[in-house]
Point group: C2
Chain length 340, copies 2
Amino acid sequence: MAHDERRLEVLRAIVQDFVSTNDPVGSKALAERHDLGVSPATIRNDMAVLEEQGYITQPHTSAGRVPTDKGYRLFVDRLSAVKPLSGAERRAIERFLDGAVDLHDVLGRTVRLLAQLTRQVAVVQYPTLSRSAVRHLEVVQVAASRLLVVLITDTGRVEQRVVDSPVEVDAGAVADLRTLLNQAFAGIKLAEAGDKVPDLLETAPQHLRGLVATVSTTLVETLVEPSEDRLVIGGTANLARGSALDFPGTMRPILEALEEQVVVLRLMSEVDASTVLVRIGEENDHEALTGASLVTVGYGSADRSLGGLGVVGPTRMDYPGNMAAVRAVARYVGHLLAES
Amino acid sequence: MAHDERRLEVLRAIVQDFVSTNDPVGSKALAERHDLGVSPATIRNDMAVLEEQGYITQPHTSAGRVPTDKGYRLFVDRLSAVKPLSGAERRAIERFLDGAVDLHDVLGRTVRLLAQLTRQVAVVQYPTLSRSAVRHLEVVQVAASRLLVVLITDTGRVEQRVVDSPVEVDAGAVADLRTLLNQAFAGIKLAEAGDKVPDLLETAPQHLRGLVATVSTTLVETLVEPSEDRLVIGGTANLARGSALDFPGTMRPILEALEEQVVVLRLMSEVDASTVLVRIGEENDHEALTGASLVTVGYGSADRSLGGLGVVGPTRMDYPGNMAAVRAVARYVGHLLAES
DNA sequence: GCTGGCACTCGCACGGACGGAGTGCCAGCC
DNA sequence: GGCTGGCACTCCGTCCGTGCGAGTGCCAGC
């Protein structure tokens, strides 16, 4: 069994060296840079086995070895210790995020912070609407038969919809509508808001029914759609850093996938706040991302995940470091949003 | 003078050919592809003059000529006819933008549309806050001494601020505060909101003064800052399209400048709705953008510019096409926002 | 089961040769 | 005076052959 253990040690060394140098790593360099206690020849044997098992591969005969996706996976699952953040990094997180004036600002700072800490592309999801609850609904009249309805959630999101009323409305009707909507929906999770509509319609006074029906169905329909979930993306310049080195093809499909927010949103839908989720290369369903890795986690309080955040980078990334950064930032953002 | 005219014609041909092929263009190819009515030898003479005047240059001896920034400038100013959009493009604009549910959606669609039409990076600015007027202010209590103030502008922007009150407030105070704020600020341009604060404080009942002061100064201070103006950016994948071909250095500084929204916002501050503004290469103050060109224009109604939008791309871009697209989109967005 | 040695493979960098595209200039022509 | 065809020249990009170095696999020995 000592064999197996050393072999894993060799794999770890290969991953670490390759991540830091971006050169295929050979047996000699490995023996020099790591205290494996054996000679290059022995390492070569181990490498041959690792290659046969599919954990590493050589770009061409007589080049060093490079980890495969499977190799990275093993590394992440069994070989990487959680790397604690440095004090400076912790302080940076606080300094960066404190003083944000609103949700937009918090998430904007978060994405910049993450991009800076990890030197990767960072992605932050707005708190999911369907899991948010209504804090307040505001109705503003913008024209005789046109209303602007503003939804404020308990997570700080503010959404607006313009609704055309079937009939002209006056100030009194607007006030009544506001009261009715708030009575019906305040404190209710958006995912469950639809269930309240029948009740609401019943209690509404006759002359307001049409208006209430229009407004409430518009709200429920357009706000619960997952496409309404939003993303903030930052640090795309980091993609261009190693460009040719990191992404053998081009980085274009990745940029496209990021702009196609739906793709990333689907990935985000799987996160939860307790574990950092790592997807490596081919593990990604989406074709454009098969050359990339994602490190994601949910943020929010213990009992309630608000949304996800994470980073996207080459498979050749510093997994322990990125996992630590993503987790730390998510925790801090979770606290921040729980407070407000 | 016939000389001069033909020389300009040669410059136009060079720009057009170079934009479409990305190869330095030689005298022979020019004579073949354009009806200039003279032989390559003559064209060579003209090219020598154009080069001496600084409109074109050769990457190296015995390569074709390439337009300089100055050459593009002349082309844009005197040689390019406004290229009308095709019917399909016009229809695309309408199809793409109609059906947007709110401001966020309108601008998101706009940026995607522009990126698609021009195949460049597109940038759209949110309606400037300082030029917007207050439509409504809403106050929601989130804790004993913490209020959420929501500002709705006549351009459809919704901004929120959390304000910590110096004293605990009750529901009545919140309602009074709401009324006071709306009385004071409704219809007022944000840029002038600061002037109203003293009046407001005077008319406020004694027991609300502290609260009103805190809230109104927070609003005025944080909302009038130009940094509060926002940008939507899209089509960054287009940067990667020609990458090495279009941007000799890397595209990284450009991505960085785009993320550094302040840079672009400053550029946007100069636009107005009547003329399309083109900045070519070195004409850009910002160093990272000296290899790029910007085509921008303001959007809004005739009497009032709300914000700017435009595209960023290599100096080697289709200026007439991009100018036409940018202008058409800006017009349509202007109408759309004027309605709501 | 580990190690040192050795032959082998292969990619890459270097350098010279070649071809092609394009130019500038000049003499002649309209 | 201006345009044109011809010509010599320049220089880039490509291709090919060589040498070098890194790295491997295998084998015999400890």
